[in-house]
Every structure is written in C-alpha cells, then in structure tokens.
C-alpha cells in the first residue's frame, strides 16, 4: 500500500520547556518491522531544540540513546527517559503493534503508566507538570487535511508542533471569550434557567446572554439595592430578579416597577440553602432550606409569594440544573443519601430515595460527599448523575428513570479535581489536574471513551482572512511567551468553573468560554468507520459539519477500497440513521434539499439563509462540492505523510473570527472549492465548526433546515456514489457490491432510493458487460422500475438486445404508453404498436411515424392496414395531409402490383 509510517506523538509541556516525544512505529504492515524509533524532541522556550533519538530494536532490547545535543535541561529529560524506559518501551511497543488498526484509547493503560512514571520522576526534580497529552494520529481525515496544508505547514513544522494552539485536541475553546469584566464586580453568577451570566456590582447587576453564545454581546444592566449577594437568579419570564441576601432572606425585584419584597424564613431553626425559578404549573419558585423544599407561587396582584406546598426533609446541600428540572437533595452523615424531585411542566415527580456508592479509604475514615462532586448531566434527553469517588478514583454514573435510579457503571478519573461538561450530548470529563479531557458517548452501552485523553485547545483567530497566515506565524513564534505571560488564559487554571452544560467561566479573568467539539479530529482519531459514523450521526449541534464529515468518510472508505463488509456496516449506520430521523421529522427538511438548486456563486447574495429553502439546497450543493474536493485531495494525499502532521490544527486556527453572520458558513463552504486548486489558506475557515449558525441556535430555534446529520439516499448518491464512481478506476464490481449493500440496507429500513442510484448501478454493470446480472437485477426488481431505469436499460441495451427488451418491458409495466409505443414503432414493430395503441388508447404518437415505418417495410398490405386503422379510429385523420399522401402512395403501389401481376 505504501502507506506512510504512522506515528504517535506524545507531547509534554512544562512551564519552562516542552517536550515532544514522537513515537515512530514503522508500519507493521511490512513483513519485517525492523526498528521502532522513539524520537524525543525537547525545546526550551524559544531556544533551539535538542534532540535525542531513542532507538529500540524490534526484539525489545534497548540500544540506548544515540544522539543528543547537550543542554542542561535535556539531561533531565534524558534521566526521566532512562527511568521510564520500560514504560516508554511498553507504550511504544503497544502502539507499534496495533498501528494498522488504531482504535480510540488504544494503549491507554500503557500510556497512563508512562505518564505516571514520568510524572513521578519529574516531581523529583521539582518541576511541575502542566501539560501532557497524547495523540494517536491516524485517520484518513487527518491525513487529508494534512495534505491540504502540507504546503504551508512544512515551512513551519518545527515551530508549529510546539505551539500551544497547534496541539491536537478533540475539544477546544475559541478565542475571543465573552469578557465579563465589570469594574467593581462582586463575583460572577450563572443563571442556568435563563442562561445568563450575572455580575453584580454594588448597586447594579450586569447580565450577559450566553445562548446563543456571542463574545461581543453587550450586557444589560439592572439597578439593585446594596447588600450581600449569595446568589442571584432572574425569573424565567425575565420580569423578576431574586437575590439571596443571607441564609434566611431572599429579596425580590420587579424589574419594570422596581418594587421589592422579601421572603424570609425562621432563621433559628432553618436556613435557606438556595432557590431556583421553575416553569412547573404548580409554582414559580422553589426555595431549598435545610428543612426541606418550599414551593411558592408569585401573586402579581399582591406582589408577594404564596406558599403552595412544602416537602419536609433534612437537606445538607442540593444541586439543581434547569436543563433537567431536577433537584437533588443530599442528606445523611456522608451526604450520600439523596432525594430527588423533578419539577417539570407535567408536575412534580418524586424520585425514589437512593444512596451513592463511596469507597472507604480506611476503616474509620468516612469521606463526606460534597456538592462539587455530584453533577447532573442531561445527555440524549436522559438524565444522569455523576458522582466523584475520590478514594476509588472513579466517577460513578447513575441514570434516573421515573421510578428508579440505576447505577450504570463508573468511569475512571485521573485527577482529583474533575469538571463535567456536555457538548452536543457528548460527556466531557475534564481531568483538571492532568489538564486533559476525556470524551464519552453515553449513547452506546460501552463506557469506553471516544478517544484518548487530550488537552483542551485554545483556538486563536486572527482578525482577517487575508492576513491570517502571517498573523498565525507570528503568533506561533511568539506564543510561548504569550501563553506563559498571559495569565488570563490559563488552561485548566484553578479558577475555572464549569457551567452547565458547555461553558467554562474563568473567575480570575472573568472570561466565559464556550466548549466546542472538534468533530473532525474526533472522527479522524479512529479508523473504525462504522462507529465514527454512528457517533457523527448522533450529533445535533453542528449538524452540517457532522453530515459533511459523514459523507466524506463514507466516500473515502469506498475510494480506499475498504472491505465490503465494513463499508456495508457504515452504510447501514447512515441508512438507519436516516430512516429514524426521517420517520420523526416532517417533510420540511427534505423539501428544502430537493427544491431547485441555485448555483453556488449566488449563495453570498442570499439574505436570510435560515428561512429560505433554496439556500439550504445550495448549501447542500456547495457542501457536496467541497466534499468532492476533499476526497480527491485525500486520495492523493495518502502517501505523502510527513512530520508536519501536528500542524493541521494550527492551520485550522487561522480561521477567521467566529463572530460572523450566518452567511459565513456558506461563504466558507464555497471557498473550499477554490482552495482545492490553489491551496490558499483562505478557505480554511470551513473546517472550523463553530461557525455554524445552528451551533448557537439549536437549543433556542428548533426550526432550522438542517436538523439532523442524517444522509438521505439522494445525498448518498450525489456526494458518495457519484463522486466515487468518477474517481474509481478499473473494475466497477467493487462499487456495484457497495451499491448492492446500500440497496439492501435501504430496503431493510424501507427507505426509498432515488432512481439515479439504480441508473448508476446499471451503468456500472453495463460497463463490465454483465448483462446476465442486469437481467437478474431488473427481473427481481432489485432496481425498482422507473422511467429513468427503463431508459438506462434501453441505453445499455444498445449492445445487448435482451437488456433493451427489459427496458421496453419496464416501460410497459409502468404504463408509460407513449414512450412504449414510440419505441416499438422505432424498432419496426409498428403493427404491435398499433395493437397497443388500440388497447390502451394512446393517440399521442404521430400517425406519420407508423405510416413511415409501414412504408419503409415495403409491404403494401401493412401500409394499408395502418392507414385504415387511423382512418377508422382517429377522428379527423381523413382530412390530414398524411392521409392523402399515403393514400396516393398506396394506390400507386396497388396499381403497380396489379400491373405486374398481369
């Protein structure tokens, strides 16, 4: 195959210098994997790098460190490496052994062993680890992207690899953040009911809308009275502000009138733990007190709260997310006994009481569960509770059902501090101490992470497109200083707070970040096409991106001639996903994509892409174009893999400012087409997922053209089969096999397939002169009869009369009388055609055609028959010129025959 050596890079960043270990594994596809190299690259700040090469013979005997440019710091590295040689070797060996089939989180165990070894050694030298990550860098997407960028990247390969923004990751936050610095701020509060970030000052409260997330959103301001603020929340209709002033008092503000009133409790026996607004029909606000819940409703007439219901319980602390409408109340000595209430619009559901599992470290030491260690997570509409068990270093997973709470396994954690986010139904477990994040897709029963632990990436975007690359270069060179000096962006700093569901608030800098998934990187990290597609098809946020990736992955798999069984499974995934989404959805989306297509050049002029259907069509078209380019590039790019691998993401970071109109993604998708030719960096923004308007609007605006990444059969044809057919050289039987699998899958899911696909199948079969199979396909209705198919059969039947007949038969079965009669006449079967005309009353074919055919046969009897037929059955035929002409001809023929017979 000539595939490039796949390699893995293991990068470790310290405060003072960073170290990259590239684990090269010679492609073990080769019969004799001779040597495995471990290349260690170390740099200190902006100084020249030192390099040592660690060579390991394939039999596992270490031959030691070969080459080293001496520097003080590298001797430290060296020592670490020698100390951890066994682990490094193990990890390298594991990676090398599995390289052709790279899976997500492969060799995780070995990696963690190596990591902890290195960490321990490092600690001896009193050097604090800041950053550590691993990337298993395999995957066609990545390679393709790499290829596209190789031109530029090669120039800056050494530096880019060391650049913070150039590191590989699956999750990123994007510069600029939402800056919520207000002078005199007295802390930041997050109101998850309204998705507002609140920053109260002495007498004012500033609020920023976080959904849709826009970094330059201007805060709104309300005046409040002075006083301590324990928590603050806006009512769900936005008319009221509630501020908890103390453990016994909550103050309410009417925003318009400025009227206030307070609600307090008996401070001696109970204290207020918190409160939240609810959209439950029973009440408007719920106050959690140590003695239980108070459910209150607001009476606008009396401007006061009225107690509706109380639930008496002992409460140590509580957690609530508006997303789940679920409040969990902790009680007991260890705070591990929980009562739960869900205050949904349907009413109040009380969950059964349950206990969380806590491992004991020692017999007498009972850990107490803290509120920070329990998270409510909403994934795929299911509500889970995650609980950190610090002793066991596990994250226990509980799923809430209406009448039960079921523990569903546990996830390992590698850090004492853990943050939880949910982005697009993907669970992100931030291992804060290790500064990595692990992704889980809870949809599948498997609790295996989606990919290897990787750091969170900060993407910086230069202001303009044209100067993007230059800016990036400068940035990368100076970034070292930038990252270190600039305290404001301290990834996984101590001050980070993880907000529900996908926001990070850096309290120190008062920056608010939104977490994004890099679908491209995730899908590139696995070679298991079906499972990657399953993952992509479940994405709801960045739908167009997921869809585009799905299509291109499918197309690439075909072009790479992956085994039919594997491609078949991938196709199954796509078709199943489509049929499911299709059965739920209204026809809205489909109509949109099927409507008339305007040329991509017209797209930028469209004014409102969200509402107009034709733009969605063009988007699809533009999308397809880009995929086509991508796939071509991918094929060519395969053998040309170099060290520049890790640059691909830094290239991506040259994307333009995320703050853009919705039209942006249309522009950028378009730009991609140009880039295919010129390799200009202008179109890179297309790879940047955050641009999509749906990202922000998905939660608020349910109505949008693209609601699901599901791929319709039409799109399968346009973006997968048709390009694959164009690219494919040689024997078409592979593609036919894939098409058969697609048809099988579509048939099982009862998905209707566009005739184009059948036509393509026919073309492929005819190209291979496989007429026997064409016959079987047509007879067994594997190719569903349609006019297009019939016409293609006729076309393919030019060389094969049986196939042509199949086409004719199909026309007749479809009752396409006009075409059938026309073809019969053209083939000289004019008498048969006439019978058919009579039987089915098809009078749309011109009589002259029949007459000409009969005349050409030089049989006067036939000609007379045809003439008589029309005279008898076609009213007014007698007066046409055809009649007179042929009547005369017939008479001449008759007389000549009569003459000759005498």
């Amino acid at each position: 195959m000539g595939q490039p050596n796949r390699y893995n890079s293991l990068c470790m960043f310290t405060n003072h210098f960073r170290l990259i270990i590239h684990v090269y594994a010679l492609n073990s596809n080769l019969a004799t994997p001779s040597h495995r190299y471990m290349k260690i690259l170390a740099t200190e700040k902006d100084r020249a790098s030192s390099l040592c090469t660690y060579t390991e013979a394939s039999d596992g005997h270490s031959t030691g460190i070969v080459d080293m440019k001496e520097r003080k710091t590298t001797s430290t590295i060296n020592r670490i490496l020698i100390n951890c040689a066994a682990q490094a070797k193990e990890y390298g060996g594991c990676v090398a052994a599995k390289v052709p089939e790279v899976e997500r989180d492969m060799c995780l165990k070995e990696f963690l062993a190596l990591k902890s070894c290195m960490q321990n050694v490092w600690k001896l030298y009193l050097i604090k680890w800041n950053f550590l990550y691993l990337e298993i860098a395999v995957g066609s997407m990545q390679r393709r992207r790499l290829k596209e960028m190789s031109g530029k990247a090669s120039s800056s390969q050494s530096t880019v690899g060391l650049n913070g923004s150039g590191a590989l990751s699956h999750v990123y936050i994007k510069y600029p953040p939402l800056k919520c610095c207000i002078p005199g701020s007295r802390g930041l509060f997050y109101d998850d009911g309204n998705k507002l970030l609140l920053s109260p000052t002495l007498d004012q409260v500033f609020s920023w809308k976080t959904a849709p997330f826009a970094p330059n959103v201007t805060p709104t301001c309300d005046s409040i009275s002075e006083g301590p603020i324990l928590s603050i929340r806006y009512s769900l209709d936005g008319k009221m502000i509630a501020i908890q002033r103390s453990t016994s008092e909550i103050q309410f503000w009417h925003r318009e009138s400025g009227e206030t009133f307070t609600q307090s409790c008996r401070s001696e026996s109970e204290s207020i733990l918190g409160f939240f607004w609810t959209d439950s029909p029973l009440c408007d606000i719920v106050i959690i007190k140590t003695s239980g819940l108070d459910l209150l409703s607001y009476k606008s007439e009396s401007k006061s709260l009225q107690l509706v219901d109380t639930r008496r319980l002992n409460v140590s602390w509580y957690i609530y997310t508006h997303e789940s409408r679920l409040v969990l109340l902790a009680s007991g000595m260890q705070c591990k006994t929980f009562n739960g209430f869900q205050l949904s619009s349907a009413g109040i559901i009380r969950l059964p009481k349950f206990e969380m599992a806590m491992a004991k470290s020692e017999a007498n030491n009972k850990p107490v569960l803290a509120a920070e260690d329990v998270f409510i997570v909403t994934v795929y509409g299911r509500i889970y509770c995650l609980q950190v068990d610090r002793v066991a270093m596990l994250l226990h997973l509980y799923r809430f059902y209406r009448d039960a709470v079921v523990q569903q396994g546990a996830l390992p954690i590698y850090s004492n501090k853990v943050g939880i986010s949910v982005v697009d139904n993907v669970l992100l477990v931030h291992q804060v101490d290790a500064k990595v994040v692990i992704l889980y897709d809870l949809f599948a029963d498997s609790r295996a992470p989606i990919s290897a632990p990787l750091p969170l990436l900060l993407r910086r975007f230069p202001r303009s497109n044209s100067s993007g690359f230059r800016a990036h270069r400068e940035d990368s060179e100076s970034s070292e200083a930038h990252v270190v000096n600039d305290n404001e962006i301290n990834i996984y700093g101590d001050e980070w707070t993880f907000l529900v569901p996908d926001l990070i608030c850096d309290v120190a800098t008062q920056f608010l970040w939104k977490i994004h998934l890099d679908l491209e990187a995730i899908s590139a990290s696995s070679s298991d096409v079906p499972s990657v597609l399953e993952f992509l098809q479940r994405r709801k946020l960045d739908v167009s991106k997921a869809k585009q990736l799905s299509l291109s992955i499918a197309c690439t798999a075909i072009l790479e001639h992956r085994p039919v069984s594997m491609v078949a499974r991938a196709i199954d995934v796509l078709v199943t996903s489509y049929s499911h989404s299709h059965s739920i959805k209204t026809g809205n989306h489909l109509k949109g994509t099927k409507s008339e297509k305007i040329s991509p050049s017209a797209v930028p002029h469209a004014t409102d892409p969200r509402s107009s259907a034709d733009v969605s069509a063009s988007r699809v078209e533009a999308l397809g174009k880009s995929i086509r380019h991508e796939s071509t590039a991918g094929v060519r790019g395969l053998p040309n893999k170099t060290l520049t691998f890790s640059t691909s993401d830094s290239e991506e970071s040259t994307s333009p400012d995320s703050v853009r109109a919705n039209l942006n993604d249309l522009h950028s998708v378009d730009g991609k087409g140009d880039r295919g030719k010129s390799a200009e960096p202008s179109g890179v923004d297309q790879l940047e997922p955050g641009n999509n308007p749906l990202n922000a609007s998905a939660s608020e605006l349910q109505e949008s053209q693209l609601t699901s990444p599901a791929v319709s059969p039409d799109e399968m044809y346009t973006f997968v089969f048709s390009p694959a057919e164009e690219e494919m050289v040689g024997d078409p039987s592979y593609l036919v096999a894939i098409m058969v699998e697609f048809l099988r899958s579509a048939n099982l899911e009862k998905v209707k397939v566009h005739p184009n696909l059948y036509v393509l199948t026919l073309q492929l079969l005819a190209r291979g002169e496989r007429y026997a199979e064409i016959g079987l396909f047509a007879l067994n209705k594997i190719l569903e009869p349609s006019k297009e198919v019939a016409m293609q059969l006729l076309e393919s039947g030019r060389q094969n009369s049986q196939t042509r007949k199949l086409g004719l038969d199909m026309l007749r079965q479809l009752s396409l009388h006009h075409d059938y009669v026309l073809l019969l006449v053209q083939e000289g079967y004019y008498l048969e055609a006439l019978r058919y005309v009579r039987k089915h009353k098809v009078y749309t074919v011109r009589p002259s055609l029949f007459l000409e055919a009969a005349f050409a046969s030089n049989d006067w009897q036939h000609l007379a028959a045809v003439l008589r037929f029309f005279t008898d059955f076609l009213p007014g035929f007698r007066n046409t010129s055809d009649h007179t002409t042929y009547y005369r001809i017939l008479n001449e023929m008759n007389s000549s025959i009569a003459a000759s017979s005498f």
Binding site: P563, V564, S565, A568, D731, S733, Y734, V736, A737, V740, E741, L743, R744, N747, L748, R770, Y771, A772, E773, G775, L776, F777, A778, L779, N780, K781, I782, E784, S801, Q802, K805, L806, D809, R812, Q813, G828, Y829, L831, E832, L834, R835, Y836, R838, K839, Q861, H862, A864, A865, R868, F869
Partner: protein, 566 residues
C-alpha cells in the same frame, strides 16, 4: 457380435450416432467416420448403413440448402433427427415409429437432447474437432465420447427402456433454466452474497451460479454457460442429485429409476462396444492410453465436511489423496475454469475461477475456498433461510386450472406446471399440444431460415377432441403454451382465461407479460386435434395469413366465436 440381438431388444427402437463427414472418405475406411454409435453392439454393417443413409440425406439436402441441411427425415418406420454439432460432425438420432401409444415425439425435443449432450461434452472435454485434430486416429475422441454419452443416456433409462422425451413432455423445454422467483429483499441478499463470493477471489475474475434446490437463483455467467452449468448441476450436484434415487420433480431426471441399476443395463449393452469405442481396442497404447474423465458418472460427487462438493472424477493430485478440482470450459470465452461447488442445505453455490489466473493450482483454489467459507458462510446461511422460508415447494408454480409452459427464449428461462400436475392431463390434450408445438417449431425455424430479425407475434387457440383448449401465444421472444381442460365452450371464455392467467403470471414471473390482443381476431376452431386452420386476421380483411396444415380438412372446420376486441 452374438450379443447384438439381445442388446437391441433391451433398448429397442433407438439408435444414436455421431460421425464425421470429413473422415473415411475412401473405400474401405468407412469405419473411420463413426465416432459413436448406440447401441454399440450392432454389426458394423448395420451401423454403416445407418450412417450411410444419414450421410446421403445430408449430402442431398445440402444441394438445396448448403447452410442448413436436413433437420429431420420422416420415413415410414423411422424418424431421423439430425443435428450438426460442429461443422461436418453430425449427431443423428433414429427413433422407431411403432404402434406403441407412447412413441410420438416432437423432433425438436429430440434435437434438444442431441444439443444438450453436445454442449455438455464441449464444456468438459472441448470440441470434438479439437480432439480429432489432436489425434487423427480418432481414438481420443471415441474414448471420450463413448463413456460420456453412455453416462448421459443412462439418465433416460426407465426400467429397461430408454425413455426419450415424448409428447408427454411437451410442457417442458430442454435447454432452459428454471428460476426461483424471489422477493426483492431476498434478491438483494442473494446479490450481496454473490458480491461477497466475488470479492473472495480478490482480483481474479470469478463467476458464480447459485441454485436453490433445482432452481436457479443467480448467475453471473453468460446465458449459454448458465444453461450448461445449470444442467450439469441439476444432473449431478444439487441436493436432489446427490441423494440420487430419491424422487425428483425436475424434468432433467426421470428420477424413479435407480442409477445403479440403469447403469448396469447400459453396461450390458456396452460390453461389446468396449471393443471398438472403448479405450481398449482402438487405443494404440493400450488400456490406459487415455485418462478419460467421466463427469457424468453417477454417484461420484459427495458433500465434504466443509460444505464443498468433492469428486474423484478428475483424479487426485499427484502424490496426494486430495481430489483434483474439476475444470470446465466456458462456451462464451473458451476459457478453462476451475469449478468449485459449495452446498449448504438446499443452497448450492458454484463458482468458477480461471485456471490461467490461479498460479499455484490447487493451492490457490483452496485458498479461495477458504476465503469463501470464512466470508460468505454467514451470508449463505441467511440466504438459505430466507429462500427456504419463501419457497412454496415443488408445486409452488402451479396455477390451478391451467397447465402451462412459459419460455423466455432470450434468457433461456422456462417455467412450467409441475410434472405431477401435467400428468393429470388427458392424453388427447397432450397430443394436441404436441402437434401444436411441432407447428410452432416449424414456424420458428422457417423464420430463422428467412433470417427474419423481426420477432413475430402469434396466437393460436385450438380445441382438442376432448374439448380442451390448447393455446399458444408468442410475443417478442416469449412463448406461452397453455392447456385448459375444464374450460367453457366458448372461445371468448378461453381467451379470458388466458388473459387472467397472463395477469396472474405477471405477479409470478414479473418480466413476462402477454398483452397480445389482436385488434380483430377470428379463430377458426377445429374439432380434430390434428387438423387445424388458423386465420390470423389483423385489421379486418386487409391482412390474412392463413396457415394450413395437414391437408385442408374443410369438413371439420367449424367457425368459432368471432371475437372483436372493443
């Protein structure tokens, strides 16, 4: 030659010979012409006189028709059916016309037998001409032909008689394939299986043929090769063929007779034959001069443990006990292919691999086999299950009230009423149909002779002596033969019944539908089964094409109902 008299009485009335006109042109060398003669123990003088007569007829008719000499000669007591298998190599079958009621043949059916044996011979041994050229003495060809044709004929033995296709078999068509009707879903599964098999061979081009019971499910071969392989598979490879002796409903086998017994009968007549045709006498090198493969030898195939069918017909690998993989020649490309057959329950899967593409011979074949077992086993299971679920048994294609035969000449496909149902017909009905088919055959061969590319449409309905309707409809390469015994008096009724049948058939066999409706049809219905006149009038009185057979019979003509469409 003392045994000759007893031998001829055993297989009476039938002679079968193959001879080459280019050989034995000189006085005294006439024996050289004979490549095969059955019964072999006839005195050479008799053999030569039979062949001499045939040769004379051929030479004579060639004067008038150089391209297509005579097809059949009807003598008073015999009927000679000719088939020119290869240029100047003729196969002739002589059947005796005796007073026996069963001795009524359709010559085209007999010719199809000759054709079939020749096609099968070529598939396994290559053309006779090549064999003759290889060894001009003719021993090679004779030693191949003799066992091959004898093995083939043994399939026709019922008891002590050779039962050649008679009028009772006129609702059958030799040389066609019977297909299983499958639903779309199953068809896609089958195709998916076909692709998997293909992919197992990698870059090597690979053909496949899939049968369910004795019915074809899928093929990637050309129509001719499909027919040949299908025929062979049904004769020797399908589960029914493997458990030989069990009753079968396929027309290719008479079924009830035990092959062991029948073979011995033929062998009895063959003892003398060995002297001339067998390898023993004419071979210059002695008994083992030719290693003659007998692909049609009975009871030689068996199902191996891995599901692959094995046979030692093709000998064993040198130095081992592993049976050699059979090879066949493709009719279309002339390519030599390895034949591998895999069987799972009722599903038989045959795949062909080109000998030239597989470099390391048997080892390469077994690699592919291994691949197939690994990759396709699950799919095969699934397909078998799906097909057996959808299969209606041997009477699946029975349409009650009708006895039919449907032939798609373009694709060499036919479908017929199950033999058990056909057997319930009156003899008169079958005889009428037989006669009608003879006429149609004649008409077709006439059209072939005219090189008329224009396919005719034809519809004939006749009333037999027993008041049964016998109907033929021919539309664009498709033929439908129908017998309606319980039909009403009127032609209108019969015509409606045909229409109904055509429509019901559309669902059963999708691609075939008959919508021949003559604008004006006048049927002249004849009461005598062997005399009929068809007047096919299109457009009133403008075109009349009157076919007259068997001497007018004016008295018997009765005017049937006049049916005017619309």
């Amino acid at each position: 030659m003392g045994l000759s008299s007893t031998a001829t009485t055993i297989v009476e009335g039938i002679q079968f010979c193959v001879f080459d006109l280019r050989r034995g042109q000189h006085e005294g060398q006439e024996l050289d012409k004979i490549l095969f003669f059955f019964p072999a123990d006839l005195p050479f003088s008799t053999q030569l006189s039979v062949i001499g007569l045939s040769e004379g007829l051929i030479t004579f008719t060639r004067i008038f028709s150089p391209d297509a000499a005579c097809e059949v000669i009807e003598a008073e007591r015999h009927c000679h059916v000719f088939y020119e298998a290869e240029p100047d190599i003729w196969m002739v079958m002589i059947v005796e016309k005796n007073k026996e009621p069963e001795a009524i043949w359709r010559t085209d059916a007999l010719r199809k037998v000759l054709k079939e044996v020749h096609f099968l011979f070529v598939m396994f041994h290559g053309s006779m001409r090549v064999l003759l050229d290889k060894e001009p003495g003719g021993g090679l060809a004779r030693s191949h032909l003799y066992p091959f044709i004898m093995d083939y004929l043994s399939d026709f033995l019922v008891g002590k008689k050779l039962m050649l296709p008679s009028f009772r078999d006129c609702l059958k068509e030799r040389g066609t394939v019977q297909m299983l009707t499958v639903g779309r879903e199953a068809a896609i599964e089958v195709q998916s299986l076909v692709r998997v098999i293909e992919s197992c061979a990698g870059i090597i081009p690979c053909y496949s043929l899939i049968l369910f019971q004795d019915l074809l499910v899928s093929t990637t071969l050309s129509p001719d090769d499909t027919v040949n392989l299908f025929t062979y598979a049904v004769l020797r490879l399908t589960p029914n063929a493997l458990s030989s002796g069990a009753s079968s409903w396929s027309y290719l086998r008479k079924g009830t007779a035990s092959h062991v017994a029948t073979a011995s009968i033929l062998a009895q007549s063959g003892t003398v034959a060995e002297q001339f045709y067998g390898p023993g006498e004419t071979s210059p090198v002695g008994d083992n001069g030719y290693h003659v493969i007998r692909p049609l030898h009975h009871d030689k195939w068996s199902r191996g443990r891995d599901g692959f069918l094995v046979t030692d017909i093709w000998g064993v690998e040198p130095g081992t006990w592993i049976p050699a993989t059979p090879t066949v020649l493709l009719h279309q490309t002339g390519e030599k292919m390895y034949l591998c057959a895999h069987q799972h329950k009722s599903l038989t899967m045959i795949f062909l691999l080109p000998v030239s593409s597989i470099l390391n011979g048997e080892q390469g074949v077994s690699t592919v086999k291994q691949q197939v077992v690994e990759n396709a086993a699950l799919k095969m299971l699934k397909v078998e299950e799906k097909l057996s679920k959808g299969w209606g048994g041997e009477n699946a294609y029975h349409v009650s009230g009708y006895r039919y035969l449907l032939v798609d000449g373009d694709r060499n496909i036919s479908r017929a009423s199950p033999p058990g149902k056909v057997a319930t017909l009156y003899k008169e009905s079958l005889l009428s149909l037989n006669k009608l088919r003879e006429e149609v055959d004649l008409d077709k061969s006439r059209a072939r002779g005219d090189n008329d590319e224009h396919e005719k449409e034809l519809e004939v309905s006749i009333r037999a002596k027993n008041n049964a309707w016998v109907i033929v409809r021919i539309t664009r390469g498709k033929e439908l033969y129908l017998v309606l015994e319980k039909a009403n008096e009127t032609l209108l009724y019969a015509s409606d019944a045909v229409e109904k049948f055509s429509n019901s058939l559309v669902s059963a066999w999708e691609a075939t539908s008959f919508d021949v409706t003559l604008i004006v049809k006048i049927f002249l219905v004849v009461s005598g089964y062997d005399q009929f006149v068809v007047v096919d009038l299109i457009m009133g009185d403008l075109i009349d094409d009157i076919k007259r057979c068997s001497g007018g019979g004016d008295d018997n003509i009765a005017l049937g109902k006049l049916k005017t469409a619309h």
